[in-house]
Amino acid sequence: MLRINCPVCGTRDETEFTYGGDATVVRPAMDETRAQLWLDYVFNRDNPRGPHTEYWHHVQGCRQWLVMERNTLTHEVGECHLAKEAC
């Protein structure tokens, strides 16, 4: 059981959230027409074994999308902040 430290709601069970995958991929601008950039965004992942920056959506809480650091090998969770406030 992961416990996710939502900046709005506090630390909560993972069951209140849905997972959104790798948060380091950057959605191309709307007017971007190069397919490769879209392919990278939609399909390709670093998939690291170790520290991972990932999206979580607090669907049963504040409905904010969060960006959280988590180790994929140990499941240790780290920093978590609002996706809106992430750079």
């Binding site: 709005v8 709601c9 506090g10 909560r12 069951t15 209140e16 049963q60 809480g61 504040c62 809106k84």
Partner: protein, 196 residues
């Protein structure tokens, strides 16, 4: 306007259920439609933008994420950095003033949720069976609220006294949740009150 119809009409049977104890049932369950529920949302500068609207209800600011604010019959919940929910009959009073501000988005949700009240000496114990939250008084003091899941459905839970929790649940899930809460309440013994 006619009465708001409860989604529990067919499943709420007033009476006494579950375990029996000398001290009487540990739980009392009841429900009530929300007399008003309004969401105000905004963007950067939300806290400033929303102030005038909140002021009309007597709230000084948008509040914080853990505790409700009370003013008259209105209760304010800061549900997200850029959102508040206001319940109470007077909540609708903000629709006009907030609606006039393009930096705010207002929404009447008064039919979207039903209030289910969990009350009694075992209220904390029952709540602990329902949601993954620490409901003990020191962790969740009177006036605090949480948005969480019961039976995997998003709900807002407001503690209004040491022994009372008010649950705002989506009306279309209310019927099933009510039954689910009843199953969980059986070991404490519970009374179901007449419709409000």
């Amino acid at each position: 306007m006619p009465d708001i119809q409860s989604p529990l009409a067919a499943v709420r049977t007033p009476g006494r259920f579950g375990a029996s104890f000398d001290a009487g049932p540990g739980i009392t369950l009841s429900d009530a439609p929300l007399s008003g529920l309004v969401q105000i949302a905004g963007w950067d500068g939300f806290e400033t933008a929303v102030k005038p609207a909140l002021k009309t209800l007597g709230f000084s600011d948008a509040g914080d994420f853990c505790c409700s604010r009370q003013s008259g019959d209105a209760t304010l919940f800061r549900t997200a950095p850029d959102r508040v929910l206001i319940t109470g009959a007077s909540a609708g009073d903000v629709l006009e003033i907030a609606g006039a501000n393009a930096e705010l988005a207002v929404l009447d949700l008064s039919h979207a949720r039903l209030q289910i009240n969990v009350e009694g000496r075992n209220a904390e114990g029952l709540m602990a069976q329902l949601a993954p939250i620490d409901f003990r008084l020191n962790a969740m003091p009177i006036g605090s609220f949480v948005q969480t899941g019961i039976h995997h459905i998003g709900v807002l839970i407001h503690r209004t006294s040491a022994t009372r929790f008010e649950l705002m649940v989506p009306v279309t899930f209310a019927r099933g949740l009510w039954q689910f809460i009843g199953l969980n309440a059986a070991p404490f013994g519970y009374d179901v009150l007449e419709a409000a």
